[in-house]
């Protein structure tokens, strides 16, 4: 499908052709919703966040600089809106109790299947053990497929910082699974 250049669409919206705004958002339609959903953990709240974010995008489209990536600009607004929403609801008062790293042990071929199963079942829950920044980096990279450079533009930090947060996020998740795996295998053996 022929896609108009983002800059042209932005110009059209600013000239008053509001229908172009929908075309501008369309490529990231699902991405926005999923990102908001992963951060908030609730589908309805995700929709609310998206509406807020779209309103901000429309209002501040004047400040969008030509030649820049609309994708990173819009994701930045979406991520900030999501965290503002969470701050407002004071959802981040939960106690994180799974910070201790578990010991790493041998991974026989047979257990790979258990690991895969565990991960698929618990990924959404595991996101809560990450700090807001780690979660944002992890989601932008692994859920939305943004590059390290794009993620750095979205979150307004260096690529080094993105790598550090990403590494920490994966270490935390791995340790969390290792701990749970230990628990489950312990329970099975008793």
């Amino acid at each position: 499908m022929w896609m108009k250049d983002e800059d042209k669409l932005v110009e059209e919206v600013l000239r008053g052709q509001h229908a172009s705004f929908e075309l501008l958002l369309q490529p990231y339609q699902q991405g926005f919703l999923n990102m908001a959903y992963r951060i908030t953990g609730d589908r309805e709240e995700a929709r609310e966040v998206c509406q807020d974010a779209f309103l901000k995008m429309f209002k501040y489209l004047k400040s969008f600089k030509k030649g820049r990536s609309f994708k990173t600009w819009s994701y930045k607004i979406l991520v900030n809106t999501s965290y503002d929403f969470l701050k407002h609801k004071k959802k981040y008062m939960r106690v994180i109790d799974s910070q201790k790293s578990a010991s790493v042990y041998e991974l026989p071929q047979v257990e790979q299947r258990i690991w895969r199963k565990q991960m698929r079942e618990k990924i959404q829950g595991v996101l809560d053990i990450l700090s807001p920044k780690e979660k944002a980096v992890f989601l932008l990279r692994d859920s939305e497929g943004l590059s390290v450079r794009e993620a750095s533009l979205v979150l307004g930090c260096s690529q080094m910082s993105i790598r550090t947060h990403l590494s920490r996020a994966r270490q935390k998740i791995k340790n969390h699974f290792a701990k749970n795996h230990l628990k489950e295998t312990g329970e099975e053996s008793t």
């Binding site: 929908e22 589908r43 779209f54 690991w115 991960m119 698929r120 990924i123 692994d142 859920s143 994966r170």
Partner: protein
Amino acid sequence: MKCRKVQRLLPLLAGAELPESKIPSVRSHMEECSRCRKDYEKYAILVSQTRAWFAENRTEWQEQEWQRIVRTAIEQGAEKKTAMVPWPFPKVWAYVLMAGVMLLITVLIIRPPFVEQTGLVPRYADVAQMGKPGGMEEMGRQEVVSMTMVSRETGLKIVWVFNKNFNLEENE
């Protein structure tokens, strides 16, 4: 490279975010260290599984819902059109600047009584004098102007006296 440093880089290697310059040293370490190799394996599974999970568990918009939300955003965000010309300066400093300019215009044109007036316009004291006996009348009746020239060398003094039409009345 030591295990401690490699452990920080393994999650990035598994997710293909590690800079190319660091890959050979991490890989050479992994060839010698079985613990790091196993950890790498775990990270590789973690990355592939989480990405697959995210891809499979995506929330979808209902087409109507999507359009409703975008339209609502446009309606709420669109500026209401009025017959008046929109204010061209959105910044606060512009308002301060405009207030300053207005004050300056007020001082220069309207000249409120609290501003001390100087120059060609009579001073406040002079204006006050006008109301007193002989004040206004004196100024109104002034019909003769004199001009005096004194020579420095000879001490000669010439006085011209003009009437209100600037015609020479008298020459001393």
